[in-house]
Structures are given as C-alpha cells and as structure tokens.
Amino acid sequence: MPLLGGVEVSLAEEEIRKVREILGREPNAVEAGMIDVMWSEHCSYKSSKIVLKQLPKEGERVVVGPGYDAGVVDIGGGYVAVFKIESHNHPSALDPYNGAATGIGGIVRDILCMGARPIALLDSLRFGPLKSSHSKWLLRYVVKGIGDYGNCIGIPTVAGEIEFDESFERNCLVNVVCVGVARRDEIVLARADRPGDLVLLVGGATGRDGIHGVTFASRSLTENSEEDRPAVQVGDPFTKKLLIEATLEAIKTGFIRGLKDLGGGGLTCASSEMAYKGRRGMEIDVSKVHLRETGMTPFEIMLSESQERMLFIVDPAGIDKVTAIMDKYELQWSIIGRVIEEEEIVVKANGEIVARLPTKILADPPTINREAKKPAYLDELLKIEPPPMPSDLSLTLMNLLSSENIASKEWVYRQYDHEVGIRSVVKCGDGDAAVLRILGEDKGIAVASDCNSKHCYLDPYHGGAGAVAEACRNIVSVGAEPVAIVDCLNFGNPEKPEIFWQFKMAVQGIADMCRALSIPCVGGNVSFYNDDEVTGKAVKPSPVVVSLGVVEPLSSIVTMPFKEPGDEVLIVGETFRELGGSEYYYTIHGIEGGKPPIVRFEQERKTLEFVLEAARRGLLKAAHDCSKGGIAVSLAVMSIKSGLGADVDVAAIPAEEMRLDELLFSESHSRFIISTSNEMAEECFKLARKHHVTLSSIGRVKDDGIFLLRFKGEKSLLCKVDDIIEAWKKGFERRMGWG
C-alpha cells in the first residue's frame, strides 16, 4: 500500500497527489489516517456521489433529505417519521453474529441522532442457496445477531425480506432498516454551528476495535480476510439501550444543539461532518476521551470505531443538566472539545496539536468519475429459449411454494420480537408491509423493503425501478399511501466498468420511478465491493428499496388473507410474457436468463392510486401484490393465510398471448390480487374505470379446502389447501434444520 504522512493508506496514487496539492504540504501520520478514512468509498461516496445526484429529494413532506444521518418526512398531526437503511455486508460475511448485531446497533444510532425514538427495525438479507452449509451457518447467526440485539434494546423487527442466489454465497448481504417517530419540533441535526458549544462524547469507552473498518468495507473480501480482525466488532445492546433512553431524555432538556453517532470513521467522521455542516470547526482533545485500553495513540483514538458511542454538541449553559442524565443511566462521558470559529479540525493531545486540517478536506473529498460499460453477458442472457411446459402444474406450484425464496420466513421472524412497543398492528407475515400505529393517534406508518436481484441482474434499470414499484405496491396493499423511500445500493467493485454500469442504470431506474410516482428519496446507503477477489464474481446488483407510507384511519388497513367464502377474487393490471429472472425459471428450470419484467411507469402510478383509493373507501377485503412466483403464488398465499380455498378461471386474466405456465408464473409489475364482497365489486369496477386501470373478476373464495385454477374448461391446477399450507409453512424450516 502507498504511503502518506509516513503511514500506509488505501488511497490511489492520484488521490495522494491531490491531498498534497490541496493541503500544500505533507500531512503528518494522524492527519493522513484521518484523510484516509474520510476519503474511503464508505465515508466519501466518491464513486457514487455524481450518480446519486439524479435521485429526487424534494417533496412537500420532506423535512430532512439525504445528507444527514436519516431522512425525515412529515406524516401529519405534528409528527415526523425518520428512517434509514444501512448495509453491514462485509462484517457479517466474516462474523455473521456480531456483524449483523452491530449493523442493528449502527442503524439505530442513525435514527436516534435525529432526535427520534426508534420504533421499528427491518432486515433485508441475501445469501447463497441453503443447500450449502456455509449459507445456513451465515443465515442462522445473522438472524440470531439481529434478534439478540434488536430484542434486547426493545425495538421490534417488524418486516424484511430474504433472497437466495448463488452470487451471494461468499458475499452475503445484510441490510438493516430503522424507523423512528418524533414530534416535528424535536428533530435535532448533526450540526455544530455555534462556537463555544461543548463537544460531549457519551457511551462505550473507546478501544482499538474497528480501526480501519471503513477502509475494509471499501475493499473486496480476500482470501485472508479472516485475519482482518479489527474489522469485527462486538455489539453491546445493553449499553445501547441505556444510550437510547439517555439521549432521548437529554434532548428534552433543550440544550442539545447537535447530535451525531459514531460509526464508520469514528470520531474523525463525526467531528468533521458536524463541523462542516455548521460551517465551523472543532477542537478535540484526545487525552480527554475515556478509553478502554491503555497506551492508545491519537491516531488510534481518532480512528477507532468502538460501538455504542454518541457525540453531543451541548450548550455550555446546560452541560451539567445533560451530564446528570448520563450519570443517571450510568453511562460514561467526557467533554472532549468545543466548537470553534475557524473551519478546521484541530486535534490536541496533552496540550499539543497533533493534527490540524480544514474541515472541507475531510468532509468533502473529491469525487471520481468512473467509467461505465454495458456487460457483454446481457444480450446473450435475454435470448434464452423458453423451457418446456411442466406436465403437472400442481406439483410445480407446490415446489415453488416450498422453495427457499418463496416459502414462509416464519423460522426467521419467530426469533424477532415484533411486538415490543405495542405499536405493531400489522406484524411479520400478516401483510405485504408492516404497520406501526402512532400511540394516541388514529394513524399508522407502513414500511416494506424490496428488491429482486434476479430481475436487476438482467436489467438493472427496470430492476431498480421495479424495486421502488414493488416496495410501494407493498405499502398500498395494506391501505397506506407511500410518501418516501430510502435505498441501499449493494453492488460489486465500482472500479470495474460493467459493475459501475449496473450501478448507474439501477439508480436511474430508481430515480425515474420516484419521479413517476412523485415520491422523494430521502436517504440511502451505498455498499460497493461486494465481490469475491478469488473468483472475481460480484453479487447480483441489489438496490434494496424501503418505502414508507401513512395509513389513516387505522380502520382502513387491509391485510393479505382471503376473508369469507363467496367473496369475489379480482386481478388488477395486465400480465405480460416476462419470465426472465422469475422464481419459476430459477427454481423449476434452473434458468437464469430470459426477458425480465419492465416497469410501465404511468400504469404503475395509476394502479397504485386505484388500489389506495379502493382501500380507503373500504372496498377491499384482502389485497396482495403479485411478485415472486407470479399470480399462482400470490393467490396460493392468500389462500394459505386464510385456510380458505379458491376457484379461479385463469382465462379471465387480462394478458398478452402466452402459455398457461407463463401466465401463472410471469412476474410482471403493476398487478394486485384483491378480494371483495359481491356488493362492492361493482364499485371496484367503477373506480378502476375512473383510474384507467384494468380490473378483471377471476374467481371466488371457497370453503371446500380446495385451491383450484381452471383454464378453458379444464382443472389445470388443483391442490388441497392443507397441502399448500404444509409446503409453504415447512419449506424453509425443513432446510434450516434445528432451532
């Protein structure tokens, strides 16, 4: 590795030249270390910044957009929702338990430092297929890590998703989401703008752990990553819980002028970013920092990424009041510096200045314009011939339902406390999105996370757009109005033009879909280098999108299970011959290619508007979007969750010309299955015409225990409801084995 200031840094030669040029001198070792972390991909977004600019950030409800620790949106009645997503892929690949746990710890701090009480967690996970014992081991301990941490701090994990694909075998993806609520006037910003304010460091003592964690996250995993021990941290949820309560209590004093968590880049990142946002500087005395180990150098203290720490900017008039709160919770604290006029970060140790850098060089590093090139594999993959039609469609459905991608994820969410906080109205497994009520109000927040990496692989543009569309469909399915998204962009090495092309296309897709739906993107996270240096293989592009919606009143919530025999079953939207990247191709035929679904932007918007209005007018007894596994799987799941049967005429499904199997399993966008009473069906049709949406009645809910799909007079697919319940409920658990 090249040298800067006499220490090894992970910067490119050109970047090193730039540092020297901007600074006009050689930095010393401490300064070089600080610059090294701040210029890492993880902290600086140097490769992605230019591309991310296209995402729409504005909207009536946006209170705080991207650039802060979490996005803040107005949800009415004086309340705001705060949410953010973050990846913890690299640490989780090495130590799934602690990696996932500290991921939760990190994302919770992001919400907390906006001044909001964290009220829910989501997890979006990707692993290699479960036939590999390595994947099982990763999944088992990732779930345990998330559960142990989230359960302990008393924040319910209310939703999530899991995908399995060979490309995640050595690079699992662990994305975690936290949602918070606050009164609008309680929001605090990570900003230091008043010279003389005190800098207070609270929480866990600083140790040598995690030094260079961010540079590690900004690199591909290598053969000897197992030796990369400093990158793995141990979480301490008990201390975190105290930190949460103490922080919220401290904010109530009114003396907290700025607040930021210490995550990647540690004290260096927190201090420089807060100062930069406030157009000020900060003086930090590292000899004041409470330490866990002896003999730590200023370099180590400034770069440590020890967990469970927060940085407060406190009005000196209130410092005693604030520290008394920390004492009540028996949290360690130290006053480590103050805000200064000059826009620079000055680090002192035992009275001597050991680093002095302009805030700008730390907080606003130069960006890189990376090359993008469409991968050659794509055109080949799109041309694949359709496989032969299976002779037994009932068996095909059973196999899909029990496949790891589609089967019930109950094994996972049983291990998560999804009820603590008494806000969970729609819980794990009940609906396409989770719904959390606002205590004391007749209002709820809906959240869902989505991404179909198989679609994205074949068409990152429509894959990115599709992730937004699907996340919003999931919100609308429960009767909520989507109001904003955040995203987590998981890709391979951006220095490779093919990977960067995937990235650019996906972001463009997300941006275009957001614009079409008039939904802002209020935050996100980029995780590059999810590839394997040994095999050179990258993960399938996985732009995970989290959509947040508002449902009001709570009585307009819709859930997924069929409700009563005799209810009419309808399909919203049209089906196209789009089987590329489908679960049907993957699980049944082992095919990776084909023409993937594209998003029809206008149609998607109209469809969402129709379903939302129908839900609000109380016309829907059940609703579920069609995604993985297509129409057949969506119908089956609605049947499974209710224990009721269904009798459906497939010929009534509006679709372009295609085979029966294609019709049943195509994963076209902009579709929902809904059920309604006979009396309300007519209203539904009227409303559909008003919204210019295709709606077609396809069958009825039955109580005969049979799930039946007819086609042109024939019983093309017939299963006992008990059998599909068994297949879907046991499919996952059977693969995981014990506990």
């Binding site: 345990k144 559960g147 142990d148 359960n151 302990c152 701090i153 008393g154 301490d236 949820p237 008990f238 819980k241 105290l242 009540k328 919770y329 028996e330 969410y413 049983r414 291990q415 998560y416 406390d417 999804h418 009820e419 603590v420 906080g421 008494i422 969970s424 109205v425 819980k427 009940d430 009520r437 205590l439 004391g440 709570l554 014990w738 506990g739």
Partner: protein, 243 residues
Amino acid sequence: MVKVAVLQFPGSNCDLDTLYVLRNVIKLDAELVWHREFKANVYDAVVLPGGFSYGDALRAGVIAAYSPAMKHVKEMAREGKPVLGICNGFQILVEAGILPGALVRNDTLTFICKWVYLRLENNKTVFTWKGKVGQVLAMPIAHNEGKYFNDEKGLKELYENEQVVFRYSNINGEVTPEANPNGSLDNIAGICNVERNVLGLMPHPERAAEVILSPYRTKDGLLIFEAMAEFLRGKGVATSRWS
C-alpha cells in the same frame, strides 16, 4: 387515589408499554420509577415489566434481583400489595426468590415471539379473580429464557399450594405437549406466591390489552390489569389473606 409503580431497571424495555396500558386503557394512576428511586411505601402496587434487565448477563433477571429496589418489592409482597412480574419481571421475581423455581433457556434454543393460548388454572389471585378456571386467554410470548423448571418437590408444593396460575394450552383449553412453546415443566406459564398477591408470567398481557393488536381481535390481557385495578379500589372477592 391508588398509585401503581412500573419499576424500571437498566434494560427494561416493556416499561413504557405497560405504563401505556395502565394509564390509557385501565385509567390507573401509574408512573415509571427508576430502580434507584423506588420505595415500597409510596405505591399500592408494583409491576415489573418485561425486557432485558442488565442485558440478561449471566442469567435473565439475576442481576436485577440483587438491586436494592427488590428489597422494597419484597416488602410490598409481604404486606399483601399486588406485585406483577411480566416476562423479565417474572424472571427477576424468581431470581429474587419471591417466586419459586427457575426460568431457563427455551427448548428451541431460540428466542420465540408468538401468540399462544393460556388456560387459567387459579382464579383466586389478586390478578385473576375476575376469570373462570378453565378459561382460555390469548396472549403473545417473547422470550429466550422462559422455560419454567422446578424439582419434583418444588412442583408438588406448587400444586399443593395452588400456585400454578396459567398453563400453555390449545384453543380448547387442553394442556398438550404441542401447546407448550418452550418446554416448560407441566406447561407452566405463570405462577403466584402462596399468599396469591404476587403473580409472575412469561406471556405479555400488556401486548394483549387492545383489540387492534390482537390477531384474534381479543383483549384477554386486560383481565389481569382490571382485576388488579378493581382490587386496589377495594373490589373483588378478597380473601382474608389479602386484607
């Protein structure tokens, strides 16, 4: 006016939930009390809420059991005041020796969060006098270490003294192995002290006190809080032991 304390230990996390139900649903005068500030003589009843006091270090509940606050809880128990331990609260009461036995790791070796059915076995306690023996209640559990254990002698005593209050059952009130989520001895989900003013249970009644939160549109958890509230207001079928 009667006053109920919700006792907070570092790591309690169902404290606000319990307070919400006591205040907003039951309409009792209740307040959060930090363990260091807790005094027996100020309150008419105390609830030890769920959570992970001291992060479950060593064993769930064991460190909180040594807190000076627990001396006050013991005193209240002795005075016949209602003491309710929910989940971690139950674990603390057991570790403090106020209730007998042990709560150990679930047989599944995992945390379990799910709705279960409970059969009411004893309606002669401060918290259950409004129910009928054999009545089935729906409530969620959410715990790692909720498997009740006692030795042979201890179990015999529990039954002799009518201390078994709730057992895991199916919807029909049948106490079967399939209805036992965590491997608890005899499907035991909640027990009381001999005097019947202290109840500990693993399920969460505060999460089952409003229809909107229940998958079955029930609010069975209310029974426990209402019984306590009415008892505090001087109602209920008080036995001589309680007066």
